[in-house]
């Protein structure tokens, strides 16, 4: 492990944490490639290892958001409790229809959500309708 690699890993850790704090994802999208590129982990080990960082980020980020008044803890716990159903369902469905179909479906869902978010932003930009005549 060379100094440059450590600096790279630390930098991508900070960047992933910043992203997590800003948009509420775990940061794995940056941690996984960081672990592969800078620390030489195999892809499957990187995915597993990034979860350690995600747990830390989620715990501290959730705690900070709670103090800002932005955490609905009961809903968060419910989401965590139901998610294993999805893990099992995802594996079963992937075996049934193939992973490629799932990839494309998720991509489609994400594009639809992106479009809806943009539409929301656009409608929020408009001045209050009450004053329009």
């Amino acid at each position: 492990m060379e100094a440059a690699d450590v600096i790279g890993a630390v930098s991508i850790g900070v960047a992933g944490g910043m992203l997590a704090g800003l948009v509420g994802v775990g940061g794995g999208v940056l941690f996984v490639p960081g672990l592969v590129v800078f620390l030489g982990l195999a892809q499957i080990d990187a995915g597993a290892t990034s979860l350690v960082a995600v747990v830390l980020v989620g715990a501290v980020g959730g705690w900070r958001q709670r103090s800002y008044g932005n955490l609905r803890l009961r809903d968060g716990v419910a989401l965590a409790l139901f998610s294993p159903v999805g893990v099992v369902a995802g594996v079963l469905v992937a075996h049934a229809v193939g992973e490629r179909v799932l990839e494309l479906s998720f991509a489609a869902v994400q594009l639809v959500m992106a479009a809806q978010l943009v539409r929301r932003i656009a409608s929020a930009d408009r001045p209050s309708e009450a004053s329009s005549g």
Binding site: A20, G47, V54, V57, V60, G76, G90, V91, F106, A107
Partner: protein, 136 residues
């Protein structure tokens, strides 16, 4: 998602039937997030946050805070399961995770200072990027 067909219906008084539909929606969101993270190795936050905003009327900041809390549980189960197979490298995880804690403290603080619409805009860009990665 099946509920999407009712989008055009007049708004229902949410308080009249608060708990079961709410809980059902949370279950559907959690299932999608669990499936996503199990198959693609990264967390379900990219699904949880927009679905909380678009489908449950969350504010952006609330959605991100609640998503982070949910992710702790989801990732912890995954980490333990992978750990049993010996795939977790604790030292490397901490080397990235400890600086990431500094990052998330800064990121959440910064988020309080930007408009919620900006959070949505960044998220929309992230969704498009994620979709592209999935397709390619």
């Amino acid at each position: 998602m099946a509920d999407r067909s009712r989008c055009g219906a007049p708004p229902v008084d949410d308080r009249a039937a608060l708990l079961p539909p709410q809980l059902l929606r949370l279950a559907v969101i959690a299932t999608a997030a669990g499936a996503f993270s199990a198959l693609f190795g990264v967390g379900g936050g990219t699904l949880i946050v927009p679905l909380l905003v678009l489908w449950m009327g969350y504010g952006e900041r609330e959605a991100t805070g609640t998503s982070l809390a949910a992710i702790v549980g989801i990732a912890a189960v995954g980490a333990v399961a992978h750990g049993l197979y010996g795939n977790v490298h604790l030292l490397e995880g901490l080397l990235i995770g400890v600086p990431a804690v500094g990052g998330v403290i800064a990121g959440t603080a910064l988020q309080q200072r930007v408009p919620e619409r900006a959070v949505s805009a960044v998220f929309a860009a992230l969704l498009v990027a994620s979709a592209v990665v999935l397709v390619v």
